[in-house]
Symmetry: C2
DNA sequence: ATGAAAGCGCTAACAC
DNA sequence: GTGTTAGCGCTTTCAT
């Protein structure tokens, strides 16, 4: 039998409620003497709070749940680091639950794992929720916020501006003299790939460059997408630059280019999107449009906190974080 | 106010206990008619089970907690995939909590986040717990098991045999004619690095090769460790093969070798340890001693289940999973 | 400052 | 098969 506040109360000779007050630091309602006795007894008995009981009566916990998709890109780790740091600093605990990004049933399970206990808030990392599951989430009255994914309805999110990403990546290449620029591995999903594509087209249009349809090779942000895209561009491609949908995609493009005997950046320049550590372990290192993933996590927690503080039970904020071009070694200036 | 079983009971006109029975699938104790009415009402009202209440009375939940360290190697994802799959298949939910691998205070927090609710079991992924925190874990009466880390006391674990790994990696190189073999990025931690080193030395000894002290470059399994080790071996190293502590370390070695103008595998062969996807995205692809991380997760869940089933409340098993050499392109046969 | 008592939402005997 | 009842361990009025 686990030790409870009753055991402590009995041992010290006070009422359970007093023990509760001490252990919850309701500092106005006990003397330091009782406090010390209680704390000693608690330690001696090896007392551990039963959170289930606490949550049952308080109907709220200090736990933040992060729902992450198990897609094989690695930026999630940076977001989680940001969440973790900010959560810890503010006295919250973090639990993470996995969900395949697509399967609705798995999404639902992940969501329920989080919702079925009174968490303080929920953060969703690049999860494309089905309508049913979104409704489920909303019905739970727990504040939530999407991270690394933007929407054009009124769902709260914190994300990079995907159009800006596409635009800046393209612009970077154009500014270095490139005019034939491909884009690899972007998906067709309305809220990310499509917006990046729009940015890409906008920059091209501004420079009076006509896009050829085969410059655009869709995919799913994976390494394989990068390889496939480069294969489609071909050994004798007219392209002098390509934008990759993610760091892993960029590595796929790079490797396939090498297999073709195309030297990067001499024959072909690559701009990656994300800017994770992967960019530093390739040869050449990958120039990228980098996102501030860590900060996304930090702000996500702050949004949750705020909506709890003002009692709104709902995050009301859609924000884009700035992105930045990081020049490494994979882009060459054309003369 | 959230909807409870009482609300459903009132609506349907039955007792709360009947609702409970239906919703918990105690199938012998209700008719299919009541069941249907109850389920309909539940759906209509948007009922969601309050797990805190369930856990309070049952003192056990269907949640498995995985404690992971935020070290920057990527095998954890594979273990988690294994845990997740096996957990789902057996009706368990998985929550993950992060802990820096070293900081005792952070470890403690992570542990408490898991322990403070009645989880079904705890899996620890390559976490080196301090003595205090181990005691804390043991005091919780929840079955636990370490994954990807072995011990010489009686703690339950599932891991690869690190000595076998070191031995096989070395043997692989020896069998291909190598005799001057370095080892890079291994740590001094008694339960992993040291055992791999022992395997390395054993294989060398069997082949009557005398180890030179500067063949052994310690580190922390990181990319940087690989770079540093290769720098220490030097541009004009006598080594013809090196074993890397992890895939990321191997990439560090590879890149630094290239910087030196040393061609892999022509001038230098590399054997990596782990065998994650990283091995496939380098050029050349990395030959590795691969661990079955996915299976570690699967078996971990099974061990937990078993110890719950037999009421022992304690996993009693220390097992090594087989490892396998996967030949890719980074090892050359010497003549 | 402390105690007594009620109750959070659910499950599990125990009756019938 | 279903209702009744008694808690699970904690927090929180309400007294004192």
């Amino acid at each position: 039998m686990a030790v409870t506040i009753k055991d402590i109360a009995r041992k010290v000779g006070v009422a359970p409620s007093t023990v509760s007050r001490v252990l919850s630091n309701k500092s106005k309602y006990y003397t330091s003497e009782t406090a010390e006795m209680v704390r000693n007894a608690a330690k001696e008995l090896g007392y551990k709070k039963n959170q289930a009981a606490v949550e049952l009566v308080k109907k709220r916990s200090n736990v933040i749940a992060a729902v992450v998709s198990s897609v094989k890109t690695n930026f999630a780790e940076q977001i989680i680091d940001g969440i973790q740091q900010e959560a810890r600093q503010n006295g919250y605990n973090l639990i993470i639950v996995y969900s395949g990004s697509a399967d609705p049933e798995e999404q639902r399970h992940a969501l329920l794992t989080a919702i079925e206990r009174p968490v303080m808030g929920i953060l969703l990392l690049s999860i494309a929720l089905t309508d049913d599951n979104l409704a489920l989430l909303q019905s739970s009255d727990v504040p939530y916020c999407f991270l690394s994914m933007g929407f054009d309805d009124d769902r709260p999110f914190i994300s990079s501006d995907d159009e800006a990403i596409g635009y800046q990546a393209t612009k970077l290449l154009i500014n270095k003299g490139h005019r034939k620029i491909g884009i690899a591995g972007i998906d067709q999903y309305p809220y990310t790939g499509r917006r990046r594509l729009e940015g890409y087209k906008k920059a091209l249009k501004e420079a009076d460059i006509t896009v050829s349809q085969d410059w655009i090779q869709p995919g799913d942000y994976s390494y394989a997408s990068g390889e496939a895209a480069m294969k489609a561009f071909g050994k004798h491609t007219e392209l002098t630059g390509v934008i990759a949908a993610s760091d892993m995609t960029a590595i796929g493009v790079l490797n396939q280019a090498n297999s073709f005997g195309i030297a990067v950046p001499t024959d072909l320049s690559i701009v990656s999107i994300d800017g994770t550590e992967m960019c530093n372990i390739t040869r050449p290192q990958l120039t990228s449009i980098s996102q501030d993933f860590f900060q996304m996590g930090v702000i996500g927690v702050q949004m949750l906190q705020q909506s709890v503080a003002d009692g709104s039970e709902r995050v009301d904020s859609q924000q884009f974080l700035p992105v930045s071009a990081v020049n490494r070694k994979s882009v060459r200036t054309l003369d």
